[in-house]
Every structure is written in structure tokens, then in C-alpha cells.
Symmetry: C2
Subunit: 217 residues, 2 copies
């Protein structure tokens, strides 16, 4: 695992860096996913479940965004894929320049998929494109079904939305139908219902990601 | 309910406005709590539980921070206390100037307690003092016990920490002992375990808040 502590003042705008990153990844034929959610929605646990399935089918790597620690990167590394930790030193989102530097730690010619686990934030992360093909976001049922309308940007920009911790649904007052309706009012994202306890939805999500990677080629 | 949409460029720094707010609230003898957490940890639901208890004992008001909607303020208003909604138009934290403007909607001479429910964010909200006497933060057990070390600032700055959704504890892998140890490594905050389903801990929290208000007088 490589570890980076980043505090960069880039001369280029984030939009320009996004384009440069995107061109680089396109040239190398790498599909890039920007995975976002609030802290604790289950991004890292979902990755722990997905990686064993995905890495059988393609060469992948993970970029882990975090404020200060390397806890998540250690969990991902134990799954046997290349991982780079980016510590933002307090900034609650990843920027394009951080992703660029992190990605140069990989042998890009070998890779077909990079998943970037963004810093836990439902607001700021969605404001920055960082070189990704698509955004995927996670909401757990314990967070409440009011979140898409209260924090619309992340949900609007996501190609797929993972409704996680579905095993806890009966212990909450999460209204699934309202959630689907609210998402529909924002965009036509694909919605997956997942549980990392029962593994519900993990196969379906994994297959969908593999299909997106193939379609880019 | 008053509603404000705010987008201000203040000439004074946030630190100066914090001091001005603090002086104003001190002069009026008002205790002010800045309530913070990730989206979905349960801030509004905890307030719904606390308000009926607190308002029997003192005159209180609530300032509700949110990006765009008035959903939370409507919930608080139905509890029969004055509430002002501040919409930050996308900014993921409240600033001192927003709190100043919001508070001028109340009759401050009548009030003994203002609770400010900050925007849902575990990172940015903790970076701004907004005129409060103390910060209280909420973490729900479904978010994971790794959060205090991953996002230390909010926990470091809080006088009290509410561990919420404790009724769901047995369905999660949340390690309570580790959580207490990690908090202890950051500060000596008072920790409350609460459930808004079983009402566990709500009385204790309410009593503690009343004691803080009294001690200021």
C-alpha cells in the first residue's frame, strides 16, 4: 500500500485536471468509478464484498480517500488488489490533482478498473469531478429516506445508487417507495438494494459494474 | 416558522462574528448549543424527543440549518417551539453570520436556550464557531465505531457526544468499548447512549442540558 499525504495548490482548475485525468484513463482503457456517501453508509464494506468478485474478471485498483487515517486502505489491501491511500489532511473531498498523483502509483497499462472511494461526505464530494467515468453513491436505510431531497446533488450526479444495510430496513422507518419516487424526481439512476450482512444485491451490483467496464471498451 | 435563504459575503471574519454572537447571547442570558452530526445520525429526531421535556422547564428556540429544504424545521415547529430555518443554498455548514440573522427573528429577551441544528456534515460543521456555548455531536451505531478517529475534529470539539440508535447495536458490529477508548483519546466529553425508539438515555440527556443552562446563569 502506498500512502500519500497531500496538500497541493494546483495551478490548473479542477475542471481541467478532471479532463486530463479522464483523457489519461481513456487512453489506457481504464474505467473509473467515483464512489461517494456520508461517513458510515458502508462504502468500504461494499468494496470488500465487490473486490473478490470483480478481481476474478478484470485487473483493478482502488484509491482510498480519507482525512487522516489509513484504516480503509488497510482493509482493501487485505483483499489483494493494489490500493493507494490519499490523506486530504482535513479536506472533506478528493480533488482531481489528488487522484492524478495517486493513480501514478499504479501500472496503468495493466488496469481495467479503478474505484475511487471518496472521503465520507454527502455534500462536498459531489461538487468535484476527478477523472471518473461514472459516480456511484451509497445511502444506508438507517440514514433516512429524506436524504435525496435534502442533499440532492450527490444523488442527481450518480449513475447508480446503492441502498445499503437493507437487512436493517424493518428496524427503521425508511420508506422505500418514497425513496424510489424521490430518486426518480432527480434522475434515472439505477438503484441497487444491498446488504453486506446477507450479501443481498452484491452479485447484481458486481455484474452491473462489469457490464459498464465492458461497454467502455 | 420563518424561512431564510442565505448567501452572504460578510466583511467580518467568522471568528469575529462568533464573538459578537456570543456576546449578544451572553448579554441576554441565553445558552446556545451547536448540534452536529453526519446526515441521518438522528439530530432532528433527538430534538423531537428533547423539546417536550426541555420546554416545560425553560423558554427555548431552535435554528435549523439545511441546504435547501424546510423538512426539519416543519418537524420542529410541530413541537411548539419557535424555529427559524436557514437554507445555506448548498454550503455544508452554518456560519456565524447566518446564525446572527436567524436569531434576530426571535424575541431574545424571552429565551434561555437556543439549539442550533447544524447542516448534516461530520467534517465542515466543526470548523466554524457560530456563537455557541458548547458543541454536542451525534454518532449513530450504524455508522461504525471507526468514525471518531477518522473524523476527529467534531468529536474533539464536542462537550457531549450522543451515541444514538443504540437499539440497533446488536444488529451491527459497532464496538462500544473501542468507541469509548477512542473518544477518551480525543477529549473528556460526556457520552450519552440514546435511542429514539425506546427513549433510552433521553431523560438523562435532557437533565444534563438543563444543568448546563442553569450553570451559565
Amino acid at each position: 500500500m502506498s500512502e500519500m499525504k497531500i496538500s497541493i495548490n494546483m495551478l490548473n482548475t479542477n475542471e481541467e485536471i478532471h479532463e486530463e485525468n479522464k483523457n489519461l484513463f481513456d487512453e489506457e482503457g481504464i474505467f473509473v468509478i467515483n464512489l461517494m456517501s456520508s461517513p458510515g453508509s458502508g462504502k468500504t464494506t461494499i468494496l470488500e464484498k465487490l473486490i473478490p468478485k470483480l478481481k476474478q474478471k478484470l485487473n483493478m485498483a482502488v484509491i482510498e480517500g480519507d482525512l487522516y487515517t489509513t484504516k480503509d486502505a488497510q482493509r482493501i489491501e487485505s483483499k489483494g488488489v493494489p490500493v493507494v491511500q490519499v490523506n486530504t489532511a482535513g479536506t472533506c473531498y478528493l480533488e482531481g490533482g489528488m487522484v492524478r498523483e495517486a493513480s501514478l502509483n499504479f501500472d496503468l497499462r495493466e488496469l481495467e478498473l479503478i474505484i475511487i472511494e471518496n472521503v465520507g461526505s454527502i455534500v462536498a464530494t459531489a461538487e468535484f469531478e476527478i477523472g471518473e467515468d461514472i459516480k456511484i453513491c451509497v445511502l444506508s436505510v438507517t440514514e433516512g429516506n429524506d436524504k435525496p431531497l435534502k442533499y440532492p446533488l450527490m444523488f442527481e450526479k450518480s449513475r447508480a445508487i446503492i441502498l445499503n444495510k437493507i437487512d436493517l430496513l424493518t428496524f427503521t422507518d425508511f420508506k422505500v417507495e418514497e425513496f424510489y419516487e424521490d430518486i426518480k424526481s432527480l434522475n434515472n439512476a439505477k438503484i441497487f438494494q444491498t446488504s453486506c450482512i446477507t450479501n443481498e444485491g452484491i452479485d447484481e451490483l458486481s455484474e452491473w459494474i462489469l457490464k459498464q467496464v465492458k461497454e467502455k471498451k
